[in-house]
């Protein structure tokens, strides 16, 4: 797996889909391909309250990526230095083997170029010391990116606050 983590803090997500558009505009994509998706669910009842669920689906940047193995030309590659899985467009022949192989549906077809496109954590931005487009411009800041263990994780603190508040109100 890549050395990075792209964390989606669901509790802080509002399902606004800004990440999808930030991603697409950064990759110059028109309608069709969606390298990242927010899958939204209708509210469910939790302790008498409506609660929405959003699942963020970029690419998982697998350790042994199905898409890389399926690619006949070597266009689909895993970057040595950090494990980012990306496609080199000049080598892509548009055979779609990677699309068929990916168990998560992460690889997308770009009708404008007749090649595939996928989430590469915006590696050009990362190499320039920036964050992926989706993280940079997220409305609430529910997406965070970096090397695992270096990205702030709000969950333990939030849960601790929750149990303390429960205790105080009981």
């Amino acid at each position: 797996m890549s050395k990075y983590i792209l964390r989606h803090d669901e509790a802080n997500c509002i399902g606004c889909l800004a990440c999808e558009v930030h991603c697409k505009t950064n990759k110059d994509l028109g309608p069709g391909p969606n390298p990242c998706r927010i899958i939204a669910f209708d509210p469910v009842e939790v302790n008498g309250l409506p609660r929405a669920h959003f699942v963020f689906m970029p690419c998982f940047h697998c350790e042994d990526p199905w898409c890389v193995r399926a690619c006949p030309t070597g266009a689909m590659q895993k970057r040595e230095k950090d494990g980012i899985v990306f496609v080199e467009p000049s080598l892509c022949i548009g055979c779609k083997s990677c699309i068929a192989a990916c168990p998560w549906g992460a690889v997308q077809w770009n009708p404008a170029t007749n090649k595939v496109i996928k989430c590469d954590y915006c590696k050009d931005r990362i190499d320039a010391g920036l964050q992926p487009a989706c993280v940079t411009k997220c409305v609430t800041g529910c997406l965070s990116f970096g090397e695992a263990n270096e990205v702030p994780d709000p969950r333990r603190e939030r849960y601790a606050r929750y149990i303390v508040a429960e205790e105080a109100s009981s």
């Binding site: 509002i14 606004c16 889909l17 800004a18 558009v21 697409k24 309608p31 209708d42 409506p50």
Partner: protein
């Protein structure tokens, strides 16, 4: 960069007025303001060789940061879209017939000027009306209208926050936008259908989610569970239009439990006896059948807010054009803020400060350049209707006057980036009202429903292709904000300041010709900045210039309110003058039965009313429009989830869409997204997509809350029937 970068170039009207240096090769960063909805977030635009390559929020606005919503990001696709007006267009056939001919700017502007002359001869200058979407640039449009001798500038608030605005004025003496909510320190936020995370203002949504994560409580009140409800700590699925009853009972209970800020109230609030009388019978038990909230829940809520006061905020609403007592919902929420004593305290409602508060000087107003208009407004705002703010008006009354010529006639109408055929109810009625007009002009970056009915479409350059006048936004720290021009226009379009200038220059009125007589936007900016101590170069360095280093609160001893009495007036002098009660009795709502439902509407985070659906990327994300209906009511009508249903609002228009059977809508209501059902053939992605809720709001154009003036959109009752392959069931 030179401070005074003004280049006097002899310009003919056919020349596009670009800022100097735009279109230069290489990479540069330009500060702009988003134009994808009316919130206008400040942003940074990266331009490479004349092409926009990156948009993000302006980092100098720390509360916003780099964040942009989906609409903001999709701005690149507005820019590259060919499905927008590319040259001036003059109608060639019947109004609304869709036949146009291309015209040069000179020809189109001469045409407009000629018709304006006819209008002024027939009706006087006051016979000209203009509506826009309000916001920070209205100094330009007001100046244009006043320069022509008309008082009839309108913003879009008849269909938006007019009720909340006028309610605030009747209580505090200033508009609702003058109170800024300090969510960072707030302990409990109460929302009446204010759907913060879907009806997005990015900064507000960000602050709200930050506060929720920190543990702020949020009570969300709405017949429909929105995503904001999903983030709240309490959700009350109240009966539609019953929120005023709820507020009367909350006030009753606050007084009963004596949990209001007695010191604050004694010093700053008048009319407490009136208040006690108004809510004396509004017990928690009384409201129960009206709202569906139990008396016990209401009492527990009041106990909870009492513990959190004064860090408790009752949001008086944004889109408040809902029902005939919406003004009083907003007014009673604002009264609750006063009772909490939350005015000008951290975690409460902080007063917006003008630059003068910090010893600075505000922008020089363009409107100071034109003579004061003495004519009364056509809608009576500020005179016959003293409770309506004349600064914003109520545009449905302009349409009424077009039809009736009462109190006087209107002959010409400009819709500047405003689409009343989408934003106001019953476009058929609006169209009828406009039939007699000598001139209808749409100034827009896109084909709006209204624009399609106009005589002339003047294409405005997109927000990336134009510079606007500078704007001043008062807040805890007031700022000047800039929309600079990032790129040259792709088509034969012009910025608004130039369009209005060129129309005025073609009139016979000397004051009008001089009102906007600036050759370049830089020259106009220098006029605005004169005396402020801020330069164009400084504006261009950060896009947003703060006029104080940090916010300071006004000491409590020095608080004053611009009402007739100087106090927060629970019994309002202005409402009394208008012959209105300050807190009337709640009007009970009959529950619609059988096939009848109250029609509710809203938007999602990817849609800004009707203006987003033709954008390729927003169209791609647009939810499939469905009709939310409660399982109990659906079952009685034989409607299953996913069934096709027909919806009719009493007029000729019937909408057809699929049912979404869900318990997250109150049984008395159905809900659909707004902004669908567009009809303009040249905007092909939006054309025919879904149902136009405003067309179902049949007969509602002149149905408004008389106190606030806002439309009563959710007074619409629709009939819902299941559709079978053979037609409608039953």
């Amino acid at each position: 960069m030179a401070d005074n970068d003004v280049r006097r170039v002899a310009m003919t009207s056919s020349m596009a007025p670009n800022v100097s240096g735009v279109g230069a090769p290489g990479r540069r960063m330009v500060y702009s303001m988003c134009g994808m909805c009316a919130v206008r977030c400040p942003m940074e635009v990266t331009v490479e060789d004349g092409r926009v390559t990156w948009l993000q929020g302006n980092l100098h606005d720390e509360a916003l940061g780099a964040s942009l919503c989906a609409k903001g990001a999709a701005g690149l696709f507005l820019e590259s879209d060919d499905e927008r007006p590319q040259t001036p267009l003059i109608r060639a056939g019947e109004r609304g017939g869709g036949r146009w001919r291309r015209a040069s700017w000179d020809e189109a502007l001469d045409y407009v000027a000629e018709k304006l002359k006819e209008t002024i001869e027939a009706f006087g200058g006051r016979g000209i009306a203009l509506s826009d979407r309000g916001g920070p640039f209205v100094d330009l449009t007001r100046t244009f209208v006043h320069a022509l001798g008309s008082p009839n500038y309108f913003n879009h608030d008849a269909g938006c926050m007019g009720n909340a605005h006028n309610a605030s004025r009747s209580l505090y003496g200033f508009g609702a936008a003058e109170l800024i909510f300090d969510l960072q320190h707030c302990k409990h936020l109460v929302l009446y259908g204010r759907n913060i995370v879907e009806s997005l203002m990015v900064k507000e949504a960000k602050a709200f989610m930050g506060a929720v994560a920190r543990g702020m409580r949020c009570t969300y009140i709405d017949p429909r569970a929105t995503i904001t409800a999903c983030k709240a700590t309490r959700y009350w699925q109240v009966r539609p239009k019953s929120d005023y009853a709820l507020n009367l009972a909350i006030i009753h209970e606050v007084l009963e439990q004596e949990v209001y800020d007695k010191e604050f109230v004694a010093r700053f609030v008048s009319g407490m006896d009136y208040l006690r009388e108004a809510v004396k019978d509004a017990t928690p038990e009384w409201q129960e059948p009206h709202t569906g909230v139990t008396a016990a829940e209401l009492r527990a809520f009041v106990t909870e807010i009492a513990a959190d006061a004064p860090q408790v905020i009752f949001h008086p609403g944004w889109m408040s054009a809902r029902h005939k007592q919406s003004f009083y919902v907003s007014r009673s929420a604002a009264i609750l803020n006063a009772l909490m004593g939350n005015i000008e305290v951290p975690g409460g409602c902080v007063l917006g400060k003008a630059p003068e508060h910090y010893g600075r000087t505000g922008l020089h107003q363009l409107i100071d350049r034109v003579p004061e208009v003495k004519e009364p407004r056509v809608d009576g705002a500020g005179a016959a209707r003293p409770q309506w703010d004349p600064a914003i008006g109520m545009v449905h009354q302009a349409f009424a006057a077009m039809e009736t010529e009462q109190p006087y006639g209107i002959g010409a109408y400009f819709a500047y980036r405003h689409d009343p055929f989408t934003g106001l109810p019953d476009p058929e009625a609006t169209q009828r009202a406009m039939e007699k007009l000598k001139l209808i002009v749409s100034i827009d970056v896109r084909y709006s429903e209204m624009g399609w009915f106009a005589d002339v479409i003047l294409p405005e350059s997109t927000y990336l292709e134009r510079a606007n006048i500078l704007c001043q936004m008062n807040g805890p720290v007031p700022v000047f904000s800039m929309r600079d021009q990032a790129i040259v226009p792709r088509f034969d379009s012009r910025p608004a300041w130039w369009i209005f200038r060129e129309i005025l220059r073609r009139t016979d009125i000397k004051e009008a010709r001089e009102a906007l007589d600036f050759e370049t936007i830089e020259e106009l900016w220098n006029y605005q900045l004169d005396g402020t101590g801020v330069t164009i170069a400084e504006m261009r360095e950060t896009g947003v210039v703060k006029l104080a280093a940090a916010p300071t609160l006004i000491p409590r001893d020095e608080l004053t309110f611009p009402t007739p009495s100087g106090k927060i007036e629970i019994e309002s002098e202005v409402l009394k003058q208008a012959g209105l009660e300050s807190l009337p009795k709640y009007m009970p709502k009959e529950a619609p039965t059988g096939e009848k439902f109250t029609l509710l509407f809203a938007k999602t985070a990817t849609l800004a009313q009707g203006q987003s659906l033709n954008n390729p990327l927003l169209n791609e994300r647009a939810p499939k429009q469905v009709l939310w209906i409660h399982p109990d009511r659906a079952a009685a009508l034989g409607i299953a989830d996913g069934d096709e249903v027909e919806v009719n609002g009493g007029g000729r228009y019937t909408g057809c869409l699929r049912a979404k059977v869900t318990r997250w809508i109150h049984p008395e209501a159905v809900f659909m997204l707004h902004g669908y059902g567009a009809t303009v053939p040249l905007a092909r992605r939006a054309l025919g997509l879904g149902v136009a809720d405003q067309r179902l709001q049949h007969g509602k154009l002149y149905d408004f809350d008389p106190a606030g003036g806002g439309c009563a959109l959710t007074e619409t009752v629709v009939q819902v029937k299941r559709r079978t392959p053979e037609g409608v069931a039953g």
